[in-house]
Symmetry: C2
Subunit: 211 residues, 2 copies
């Protein structure tokens, strides 16, 4: 009765995740399309949308940092502050404008426009954690790209709306429309399904309607 | 994952069908309770509510007709007009105040308060149809009661909200509260389920949340 939609689903009807009805338990968006009920995991869907948007911007000429209205200063370990200096070029490549402010202090000055609304401090801490455990030594073409995509994926996850966030109907519908325009929108970046379709015909059987 | 609730379900949590979120395809009410998502077949639920209310009123001293603001005149066959005269007492027992107006004409003057909002003309035509096919001859205690209950059941079904009726959130919540106070609310009078519970834990497994 509940069906996960494959990513390459092509039928026009199923492609449209419909109009939002409301939110369930602060986790799921309930929507109605022509087929029936749609359940959307709002975090998983938003994660995919952000990740694909970041990758597209990267391909279209790089992720340009947008200046933060209020730059953030972070106290970090000295090794992490060293890392920020060493990896300044890589960090800029993924849209993060970070500078060393002192022996154990760094400043975050800009992030990609897509991430301006998120908790940028915790985002930077995660990226620096990813970088610290990353392999050292030369990285050639594909390896760099893989590493960037891995980090962009984590940035998308970090910046995506969390469970418990109350959305207005207009925000829910904006998310649904974004999903429809996003490649691989059927699953989040970690492979979890982002939406599930429940056919009205299946509900009708469950409720023995028309019998 | 989808569970029909037995009629005697007693756990407090599951007893509450929760707060309405919205309507799906003009047929189902979507609601949220502590367990998760609740789907309600609004016609089946309303049918049960009306039927149990009519039976309770019958037990509490009879179904008194409430006068219609605008009495309805129906053209019927002469046999049906005869039937209305013959069965006037029975009709009053089920709260229908019907009089003969001519050789092939009857007037509906009052119906039970519960049914004032429904399509009373079509309701009366159905009841007269039920009566016409009913067994004749003496009817003793239980048979009369069975017959009355059968007709009340059909009246509840006829008067219950139909698919496609757009409800406001307040109306949906009023229906949910009525369900909670109604015996056998888990099924309509014809045995169809009136609501189904979907646990958030089951949804979380479906969406691989927390893995």
């Amino acid at each position: 009765m509940l069906e996960n939609m494959p990513d390459d689903v092509s039928a026009k009807l199923r492609d449209a995740v419909g109009q939002a009805i409301g939110q369930l338990h602060g986790i799921y968006i309930l929507a109605q399309n022509e087929v029936g009920l749609v359940l959307v995991d709002m975090h998983a869907a938003h994660e995919r949308i952000l990740y694909e948007r970041l990758k597209r911007r990267l391909d279209e000429g790089g992720l340009k940092p947008q200046p933060l209205l209020v730059p953030v200063t972070l106290r970090v370990g000295q090794e992490t502050a060293d890392l920020v200096e060493e990896q300044a070029v890589f960090l800029r490549a993924i849209g993060l404008d970070v500078v060393r402010r002192g022996p154990a202090e760094v400043g975050l000055v800009g992030v990609p426009a897509e991430l301006l609304d998120s908790d940028v401090e915790s985002l930077l801490r995660d990226v620096l954690g990813d970088l610290a455990v990353g392999e050292s030594g030369e990285a050639t073409g594909n390896r760099v790209r893989d590493r960037i995509e891995h980090i962009l994926g984590n940035m998308g996850c970090k910046a995506a709306i969390k469970a418990g966030r109350r959305l207005q109907l207009a925000e829910m519908n904006a998310l649904l429309r974004d999903m429809e325009g996003t490649p691989r929108a059927g699953h989040c970046n970690h492979g979890r399904p982002s939406w599930v379709q429940v056919d009205v015909a299946a509900l009708d059987r469950m409720f023995m309607r028309g019998q």
